[in-house]
Amino acid sequence: MLEASGADDVRARARQLLADHNPATTPPLDFLRARFDAGLAWVHYPPGLGGLGTSRELQAVADAVLTKAGAPDNDPSRIGIGLGMAAPTILAFGTEEQKNRWLRPLWTGEEIWCQLFSEPGAGSDLAGLATRAVPEPDGDGPAAWRVNGQKVWTSQAHQARWAILVARTDPDVPKHAGLSYFVVDMTAPGVEVRPLRQLTGEAEFNEVFLSDVIIPDAQRLGAVGEGWRVATATLMNERVAIGGRTMPREGGMIAGAVRAWRQRPELRTPGLHDKLLRLWVDAEVARLAGARLRQQLAVGQPGPEGSAAKLVFARLNQEISGFEVELAGGEGLLYDDWTMRRPEGANFYGRGPGYRYLRAKGNSIEGGTSEILRNIVAERVLGLPPEIRVDKDVPWKDLPR
């Protein structure tokens, strides 16, 4: 092919895909598979793995053509962990065989992925995790690992076909050095998924118990003992995956508060008015700061301000939803429903103020607690001295637990 401009080439390929597979008559899954094979799934991925090896920005060109033609999408919100965390890790650390096996059904949404990282005894201190992977004595078949342990806070484990897992393969070395990274078949014997009911009454998450689960060595990503490096790459991808578009003014959590304030004059008091105006300003400034962050990313100068975004988001969501419950007065004494349910995904802004208030409590814990994020800002952005660490050079098995 001649040197066409990247955008024109992508546009032409998208039109060709539409010509070959009319979205109106092609079953959605067939279309998505064809789109993957045409390199228009994620254009910055290599050819043959759903991409064209071109720049990430050109994805928008393909998306625009396909969306306009009414083509189905892969419902990215349903497969966020696969797209945002598993896929980049597989691409970076997987063998050719692994990439060919997993990436296509991951992208099309045929196979849902989940993440087995956190444990009851390893939250902020993820590298201290205790799930053990022990090599199986060599039989006739391929080498394998026997895994035992408990994982927690796993979204979509009950729907997932595959999981990314970090487990301890060597307890005799310091904690970061003894980890390895695997892909687990969630249908394998010994994998048990139980809903984890949260303080809102429902269960978005799961506990996953791994009892003598056998993982073929061919499902290891990266070298033995390299699990921490692979996991860190995964978590970096999680941060990159966050971003999205700038919401409109009075979007997000503040929307419910201002709606209630405007509709219910009888609830207004001077103290709450002051609080509302402070929160309105905080929310609007946070929105502008988010827009500024995206402007920085767009011109290729990502700044350290990104670390601030989640801290602000968590605090604001909590304060605004707390305000809303207080504003509701007597109605704030009620709650919509404590029934145990399994919602499709997280919805921070759904249901009533009481639900929003309780759900927001998770925002300063999930995806890195606010305390850990403050450490990260202090150490990596401000260059302050690290915490004094007593566990860095001690074999994991000798750490007090």
Binding site: W261, P265, V281, R292, L384, P386
Partner: protein, 398 residues
């Protein structure tokens, strides 16, 4: 509401910042700033000459055709940030921003009428930094707030051949008027007007007052049958005063941002250097987390301040919200940053010798100037339709 404007700094703005910062780092040492507060010359005339004359920072807002640099509030905000970072004792805010914005507004309204030629000359002189001016209103006056009718036009004096209108009255706590050559005075009369007065003219008294922020010493002004020249009257005068105060508010928010950044930088540096219990105090979480929170709020403040400057520069219809939001947010952040700066420096931060107090005093004083954060939040409440108890939003009364 339109799309969010560019909130980043351009290359030219970064160059401007470097030039201003190196001027201040060479010629605005904290020890000298502290010492100057106890002299008769609390403003640094030589530093102002360098900033205005050599770097051309006094004329940023003035179009090139009128002798200025033809830049915008975006560039002016960068200079304000640097002035805040160095608590520079120069009349940049009062002269290059507030008085300049008043004159620009008046000139735009008057066109070629009356003695616009003199206004143009005055603007050119302000832009060159050879003349400085100040708006004769109390420093706490915010845009849109009602001005007290304390200065009146008393008409030409009998036997005065010039026939110049005369002003009589007082204006307390005026910023940047001490070093000013010209005072722009809003005065009651028929109609209400904005007047230019020579600061050394008959009947003008400037009484320095002991100010919380001695790096921007305020003074009380009195006028007693002082001859004046009318710049604008009626609505044009009100608009000029409003534009001046809005500009001052937004640029003060930028100044507060620069001040807060410097407080964080000083405190972080100190936390790495100071050792207690055989550790750098910056290794204690009690301190790290407070500094992290402060840095986060400064990052937020930067977006607010940039948005206000961009809205003023682009005549954005959201400018009123943007300006009040920046002032409310940056004012609180600057005060918090300066307070943390004092606290986390411990004993040395409580001394007269250490510059932390300069930042604390300027931050607290600045949070009151052009209206407190609370007053600006009240303005926002009216603008965005979030009325208080007993108030009525425009759409509710409709």
């Amino acid at each position: 509401m339109t799309e969010i404007p560019d909130l980043l700094y351009s290359e030219a703005e970064n160059d401007l910042r470097q030039a201003v910062r190196s001027l201040f780092s060479e010629r605005c040492h904290p020890a000298d700033v502290i010492a100057r507060t106890e002299t008769a010359e609390t403003y640094d005339a030589a530093l102002w000459q360098a900033l205005a004359g050599e770097l051309g920072c006094a004329g940023l807002l003035v179009p090139e055709a009128l002798g200025g640099a033809g830049a915008s509030y975006r560039e002016a905000a960068v200079v304000a940030e640097e002035a805040g970072r160095s608590v520079a004792p120069v009349p940049y805010l009062g002269s290059a921003v507030v008085a300049t914005a008043a004159l620009l507004s008046a000139l735009a309204a008057s066109g070629s009428q009356h003695d616009a030629e003199q206004d143009r000359k005055l603007l050119a002189a302000l832009a060159a930094g050879t003349v400085t001016a100040a708006l004769a209103v109390p420093f706490e006056t915010g845009p849109g707030s009602e001005l007290p009718a304390t200065i009146r036009v008393v008409g030409p004096l009998a036997g005065d051949m010039s026939g110049a209108p005369r002003l009589t009255g007082t204006a307390p706590r005026v910023a940047d008027a001490l070093p000013a050559d010209v005072l722009l005075v809003p005065a009651d009369g028929v109609p209400y007007g904005l007047y230019a007065v020579d600061a050394t003219a008959f009947g003008v008294t400037r009484t320095p007052v002991v100010s919380l922020d001695a790096t921007r010493q305020l003074c009380d002004l009195t006028f007693d049958a002082t001859p004046a020249r009318r710049i604008a009257g009626g609505d044009a005068a009100s608009a000029a005063v409003f534009a001046a105060l809005a500009a001052g508010t937004a640029m003060l928010a930028a100044e507060q941002l620069g001040l807060a950044e410097q407080c964080v930088a000083m405190t972080v540096a100190y936390a790495k250097e100071r050792r207690q219990f055989a550790r750098q105090i910056g290794s204690f979480q009690a301190i790290k987390h407070r500094l992290a929170d402060l840095w986060v709020s400064v990052a937020q403040a930067r977006a607010a301040a940039r948005y206000a400057a961009a809205c003023l520069a682009g005549n954005d219809p959201d400018a009123a919200v943007a300006v009040s939001m920046a002032k409310a947010y940056c004012g609180d952040v600057a005060v918090k940053a300066a307070e943390e700066c004092v606290q986390l420096h411990g004993g040395i931060g409580f001394t007269w010798e250490h510059p932390a107090h300069l930042y604390l005093k300027r931050a607290k004083s600045g949070s009151i100037a052009f209206g407190t954060p609370d007053r600006h939040r009240a303005v926002i409440g009216r603008l965005v339709g979030l009325p208080g108890p007993g108030e009525t939003a425009p759409e509710e009364s409709a």
